[in-house]
Symmetry: D2
Subunit: 420 residues, 4 copies
Amino acid sequence: MLLQRAKALKKVNKKKIINDPVYGFLQIPHELLYDLLQHPYFQRLRRIKQVGMTYLVYPGAMHSRYNHALGAMFLMQKAIQILRSKGQEITDDEALGAYAAILLHDVGHGPFSHALEYLFIDGVRHEEISLRMMEEINVAFNGQLDTAIAIFKGSHPKGFLHQLVSSQLDMDRLDYLTRDSFFTGVSEGVVSWDRIINMLDVRNDQLVVEEKGIYSIEKFIVARRLMYWQVYLHKTVLAAEFMISKIMQRAQELARAGEPLFGTPALLYFFQNKITRAQFNSDPAVITRFAELDDNDLFSALKVWAGHSDPILSALCDGLMHRRLNRVYLFSTAPAPELVEKTAAQVCQQKNILPKDLHYWMQTGAITNDAYLPATDKILILRKNGEIKDVTDLSDNLNLKTLSKTVVKHYLSLPKEISI
Amino acid sequence: MLLQRAKALKKVNKKKIINDPVYGFLQIPHELLYDLLQHPYFQRLRRIKQVGMTYLVYPGAMHSRYNHALGAMFLMQKAIQILRSKGQEITDDEALGAYAAILLHDVGHGPFSHALEYLFIDGVRHEEISLRMMEEINVAFNGQLDTAIAIFKGSHPKGFLHQLVSSQLDMDRLDYLTRDSFFTGVSEGVVSWDRIINMLDVRNDQLVVEEKGIYSIEKFIVARRLMYWQVYLHKTVLAAEFMISKIMQRAQELARAGEPLFGTPALLYFFQNKITRAQFNSDPAVITRFAELDDNDLFSALKVWAGHSDPILSALCDGLMHRRLNRVYLFSTAPAPELVEKTAAQVCQQKNILPKDLHYWMQTGAITNDAYLPATDKILILRKNGEIKDVTDLSDNLNLKTLSKTVVKHYLSLPKEISI
Amino acid sequence: MLLQRAKALKKVNKKKIINDPVYGFLQIPHELLYDLLQHPYFQRLRRIKQVGMTYLVYPGAMHSRYNHALGAMFLMQKAIQILRSKGQEITDDEALGAYAAILLHDVGHGPFSHALEYLFIDGVRHEEISLRMMEEINVAFNGQLDTAIAIFKGSHPKGFLHQLVSSQLDMDRLDYLTRDSFFTGVSEGVVSWDRIINMLDVRNDQLVVEEKGIYSIEKFIVARRLMYWQVYLHKTVLAAEFMISKIMQRAQELARAGEPLFGTPALLYFFQNKITRAQFNSDPAVITRFAELDDNDLFSALKVWAGHSDPILSALCDGLMHRRLNRVYLFSTAPAPELVEKTAAQVCQQKNILPKDLHYWMQTGAITNDAYLPATDKILILRKNGEIKDVTDLSDNLNLKTLSKTVVKHYLSLPKEISI
Amino acid sequence: MLLQRAKALKKVNKKKIINDPVYGFLQIPHELLYDLLQHPYFQRLRRIKQVGMTYLVYPGAMHSRYNHALGAMFLMQKAIQILRSKGQEITDDEALGAYAAILLHDVGHGPFSHALEYLFIDGVRHEEISLRMMEEINVAFNGQLDTAIAIFKGSHPKGFLHQLVSSQLDMDRLDYLTRDSFFTGVSEGVVSWDRIINMLDVRNDQLVVEEKGIYSIEKFIVARRLMYWQVYLHKTVLAAEFMISKIMQRAQELARAGEPLFGTPALLYFFQNKITRAQFNSDPAVITRFAELDDNDLFSALKVWAGHSDPILSALCDGLMHRRLNRVYLFSTAPAPELVEKTAAQVCQQKNILPKDLHYWMQTGAITNDAYLPATDKILILRKNGEIKDVTDLSDNLNLKTLSKTVVKHYLSLPKEISI
């Protein structure tokens, strides 16, 4: 029999296609998905930039989390189609679940969440917020997201569907590397998503990659590593993220101390009150308020705060608005305590601040880049003889083995006026 | 106060290159230009979307006016290089002036300015604001923008330099068609900017295009026409622009009537006070305040207003936030008065509003699409025999002649609940 | 004998994917198609350039007819998928037939067939040769091509399938415009194939385009027109095609006059014998021999003939090999007889030839460019109200009406030494 | 002073631009270069595929060596411009020399030269033939290539110019990786040529790369390695190259044994006579004849030989024409002698050949992939503190160190009927 088509998923809003600069035309394959797109929790992703402050280095990187979620769903459609064509059984309900799960996998991200995770809700990670939002939406949709949630949580019997949503080779990563590379213009990040997806298969309920795709996997891991250094952990991006993080921390402290502060009601809700995990679990208002936040709340406030009477807050805001960012230095080992101490004294003097406020203007710490972490979950290669191996055991030299080691760099972020 | 003078950077990184997803690497060819980039008036363009509400239809279209200005400067570099290689004399000062002029040509745009022109400063067009900002910057830069301003205003002796900045074949249009096509994913808008610029020359102080470029010009005009219908005047984009325009109008009316209204100080300044041309001319605070506005001010306020006690304001804001937009109908002739009247009554009933408030929910009028307007200024073709002709007199059929006619369409914008 | 039957492949790699620089990965959706690819008649298309002499102007245009056939089949897969998703019933057998038909639609092309149609087989068009080859293959494949042939000939009951293979909006045109634009680097020829295919539907057994695709259709017609002037009828391409045509004509005449001539046996077969339609119909050797020919036969001979004792043949060959081509002049009306006569005399003198041999060095005639020919078959638009209209009756101005007029240009092709 | 332009190189053929699908428009910056393009030695590169038999795996890879040479010259223009902008003195004569040198660096390649090096001229490498051709052209151009030849040979005082033509980071490699990746559609091979060239500088007459380009260099080396495994050393490509090599060897043996053989005079010249280095050095006819050869000579002959009376020749040719290629097995260590012996016996039986003819149908040996060979010449990184280091000493993990080890694979190429 020729060409098994996915049987038309019940009532398709047939003509819905969306232009995407990365992949061309995206089709919404089911009306449930179309309805999910319209949900306010999802629409707000239009107003949250995918890569936060990165646009200060790569001006094209204005794309939103909404773009990314749609793109990841497009890749999921390709993956499901390929796996079915190789004889893997995936029901229509499971396919729909996988589409909804990938569409909503990042729905719990707040604005600038790389820099600001935990700012709004103490100790609660964005994955938990995503899950909570999905559960809420599920109630509104009468349980139509049951399968999606099971796949997202990893409790669905077919574990490979979860791997498509969340693993070292999931549709999330394939899309964000492709997309962030596209919008930043960093061509080194290009990933052969088409080839990789074509090479996917399933054995023992695990995603595997056909052996001839091994160089594409190697390239994918290298591209990921390079995107970290060149984009996500770019020194100027780090400086900007530290700065916005310190601004929000300061503003929150002032608000909690009773200082008057300009801001949208949603922002002030999180600044004036400390929201704990307990409250997150018990008070539905937390999610409602959280869902009102986006990049606009932060930037509109930040511009106003540049004129605030608190000298630290206003100086930090003025610096960020005028792109007078710190300079970040990276070291392979932690900088010597004497250097840090000496520099700290210079910063205090130059900024005219007390040592207790040093952390607003000078940051130290470490960043890590894990191109591939076989300890977490592995990328498995399906050999022609049927054997299954971890990718690092197969590559023709030690290249991937070295890539699977975590790289740690130590940073020192300082005002540009201070040099070391 | 938010935006201040650009502190002259001491040590300029002369080899500055910027990644652009559209053209690859952009070089900043002079340190003056680098300093202009840092100016707060220019940096704010990072926070103003190039095509306003278009992202509601084309999710990729998040790109900023900052992106566009850099891109247009890149094309200007190409154009100057080509003209020089053909023997046209352009001094280094003139080249620098042309770069600065194109970089700053749109600096006076406010947020969503296609929808909101005149909202902030009564009767003053964005070109006038651009000029005023350039003049202010020029003072801060000790007259280094003299040539740029002369080119921008058309008072520089070499008129073709002004044409490169502003005419039917300027670097502005070449970039925005290319860029908007790129970010929307509407491949029909692709323009062969490279070929067109290679075909440019100057005769009698007028830009001309070598004859063999005539099909590229024809294609350029067609692409422009199609981008208007498919993107800039897309029915859903129109609906969203009408909506944000009506929201801001209503909010301004409420503010001027003394109603309390959430908003940044800059926004409230323009909402509580009516700024006239006279004030724009005499009060420096107007520009200072204007320069503080960007997309964030509008969207952060709009989200809050969705809970405002004024039923019209809150309903409009709620509609826009949840993408419940009007439906726009287009007609080749104005809709019959009876139809309009009947529909108006339905809208009033459905929205429970008085006829005087009908305009918030129902809009009528006309839009025009001028692909090529030879009456304004012409695109001139340089024939091999040296003759110069308007492009419409040369094309091998009547195609361009028809394209040079203005197309008018009449619209009726209505809540989706009402059908005609 | 060179080319024989394709040995039926025993174990087919069903998941066969092929890299294509234009579309990415192409999938071969059925093993019959994989077997067709291996057939010698089809494999020879690898050695025939899609756009003949065009590479002398656009060096990238080396792509083969094999590339194009695969690409057109890819588009057919998209089209079938879209039509099915809109509820059009297309059986698996019909889908397979449509794939095979588009794959083989050009299989009867000989080398440089735009310039050399009728050179090898007198008065027989390449479509007839394609059909003959398909019928022969069908015998070898035990009738598996019955549906494909019916679709190709237009005798299959579902006429829209034939339109997908051959009409003004067929997959052939969509692919060749896209592909030739890609390989020449003429970005003006880019066609939004993805959008157009997404807009296809069927009414009354006729392909129609949804109304909102009208600008894409307009753009498609304009792109086609421009590709004709800028690529297919480019003056230097014309000059080269006239030249290879005259070379082959001369060589054939010499061969038939009994002159010894270097050449592969297949080439000499067609040069020494005049093959008529009657022979084509009755003698199976004609197709066998024809299938042995490709670009290599012509170019290897042509290089040798540059040293032939016949002064006309050697001079023409030497000219083509060293890219000393004629110059082509285009006129909107036929050049005046006096001009032609005067020029003819100059050519005879310059080339030292008799008037009877003038045609080898000087050509006159007319070329036509039919961007859209509604007289032949129409591109139909499906309006939202269900009405069906010819695209030229719907476009919002006269643009398409003018494009639907045939443009005729008169040419005069002369050695560069002669100027007019 | 603004914008140092390269002073117009004497008399520029101003309007000459060439469309390139990879980079857009290429400009020919000097009329000498334009004249070089027209030279028959260079024009023949139009008829020699850049990557030989690769098109049997990647159908798009039909591009010619002519394309590549133009592309490499384009990159050289970028590189010279960047180095000048960083203050490196490069005279107009040197720039022109560098352009001519890179344009002609591969002019001595014969058809399928990866497979057929030494077939035509015993023991003479293509670089020597390139040099000889350049010297001949230099005579015809009255010494205008003196600087180009000095740069090509490495005898010009500014050694970095030679490095731009030939080193581990030369314009040749940057173009061929970019171009072969483009035409094969193997997106993994994409190299950020733009970024790499922007990072180039010169210290102590050596090309160096600014430190912040280190990830682009790493990516370049990885991409190169992958292109080797995925394209240049692809198993099917190897099989086809072995096959054409064996065909030509057999045909040459038959010709030298006096067997009649179809072929162009140029091909037969090299097949009937054994051309030694001594003859290459002394007899000008050798180069003249060599310059007549291109892909057409080989393929036109090969098709005819499929009907030759010699069973080995005809069987090999028939196999190649119908793409019945050997299967290649790769091993990390040399296959066991017993396996080779046993397999050899099977091949002899299956093909009905004597052990002395085994080598036509079965090949063994080793291939190597040197992604980066610091022993030959190094890629040097210029640190911010002015220090210069080999790239492998700087990368943040052992990744590049492992990449700089030569990878050896052992192959066994067998008819598909035999399995191991």
